[in-house]
Symmetry: C2
Subunit: 194 residues, 2 copies
C-alpha cells in the first residue's frame, strides 16, 4: 500500500529539509525567527501564503519538522503551515500523537496565531506548547479570514495542558504578512464572505 506522504506538501526549496541540517535553536526567539524565515522564504519563492511553522523537540531545541502554507500550490485547503509541520512530525515519529509518555515533548512554533482549523489540530497533535508570532488581528489586517475560534482560545488550549506564548517577534512576523500583500499575493480563502 502507498505510504501517506505529507512531506510532498513542502515546496521544492524546502523539500530537502531534514532535522540534522539545523543546529539546536535554544531560545524562543531563535525558534520564532526560524519559523518567520520559512514564511518569508515562502513568499519570496512565490510558493504560498506568508506563513511558516516548525515542530521542535523542546529539550534539544532541534526542529523535527517544518511547514509552510501550500494551499494553492498543493490544491489542499488545509495545507496551512501548522498542519503540514504537524503531519510531517507525526510521520517522522511514526506516532499519531506527539505526546507519548516517556518520549521527548514537542512544541509548535508558528509565524502567526492559528486559524480556527489549526487551533483544533493543535489539540489533537499532542504538542505541549504553542508559540506564535503575528496575532490573529494582524493576519486579518492583511486580508486573511482566520475563521471563528472560541473567544478564549488560548485558555482552551491551556485547559488541555498546552502552554501558549503569543506575540513573540511580532513585528518581524507582521513584516512578512506585509511583504505578501505588497507583492500582490493571492488571498485564497475557500469561502468568499457572503
Amino acid at each position: 500500500m502507498e505510504r501517506y506522504n505529507p512531506e510532498a506538501l513542502l515546496p521544492p526549496w524546502l523539500s530537502k529539509f531534514s532535522a540534522g541540517d539545523e543546529g539546536a535553536l535554544l531560545s524562543d526567539e531563535e525558534r520564532m525567527r526560524f519559523a518567520v524565515g520559512l514564511a518569508r522564504q515562502n513568499v519570496l519563492h512565490g510558493t504560498g501564503g506568508p506563513f511558516g511553522a516548525a515542530v521542535f523537540d523542546r529539550s534539544t531545541g532541534r526542529p523535527v519538522a517544518v511547514g509552510v502554507n501550500r494551499v494553492v500550490g498543493s490544491n489542499c485547503s488545509h495545507a496551512h503551515a501548522e498542519m503540514v509541520a504537524l503531519a510531517i512530525a507525526e510521520q517522522q515519529l511514526s506516532s499519531y500523537t506527539l505526546n507519548r509518555p516517556g518520549f521527548a515533548r514537542y512544541e509548535l512554533v508558528t509565524s502567526s496565531e492559528p486559524c480556527a482549523m489549526c487551533f483544533g489540530a493543535i489539540i489533537w497533535s499532542g504538542v505541549s506548547r504553542l508559540v506564535c508570532g503575528a496575532c490573529t488581528a494582524d493576519a486579518e489586517d492583511a486580508g486573511f479570514d482566520e475563521g471563528a475560534k472560541p473567544e478564549q482560545w488560548t485558555q482552551e488550549l491551556e485547559k488541555r495542558g498546552i502552554e501558549v506564548l503569543t506575540g513573540l517577534c511580532r513585528n518581524e512576523a507582521v513584516s512578512v504578512l506585509q511583504l505578501y500583500v505588497n507583492r500582490g499575493g493571492k488571498l485564497y480563502n475557500g469561502q468568499p464572505r457572503q
Copy 2:
C-alpha cells in the same frame, strides 16, 4: 516531484473507491446512510474510529470522495473522516476550493458533527452545505473529546454561506459510536485531559 496523496489515508477495503462505483444518492437520508455505512465498515474492519464522511456533488447526488477516521492507522492526528474526504475531493478536482464559480456545488455529509478542527476545515474547503448525523454530545458520550468549537458554530458556518443540517438519521449514526465502544475501540485523542 512526488504528488501529495491523501487517498493513501484510506484503508485497504476503501482504497479502490471511485465515484463511478456509486449511483446517484438523491435524498439527504440516502447520503447520510452512505456516510454512516462507511463509519460502520471502518469499525467492523478495525481500521479506525467510528466516523465516516463523503463529499457529494449536490446536483448529481454522486459522491466524489469518501473518508473514514484513520488517526491511529495512518499516524496522523488530523486524519478525521471529514479531512480525508475533503482533501481527496480537492485533489480529484485539482482545486484548493470546492467553491469555484461556474462549477458544481458540493456538500459534506458526515456521520457525526465536526470536531473543532474539522469545523474550521469545512470553512476553508468551499463546501456550500454540511449535513451531520450524530451530535457533538453523542460523540462526547462515547468518550471522544470534540475540542472547543465556538458556541454558535452552526451560525458561524451559516454566516459564511454554508447551510447546515444536523441530527439526520441520528439513531443510526449513534449506533455506530456504540458499536465502537462495545468492541473496546481505542480513544485516540492526542492530548489527555489534565
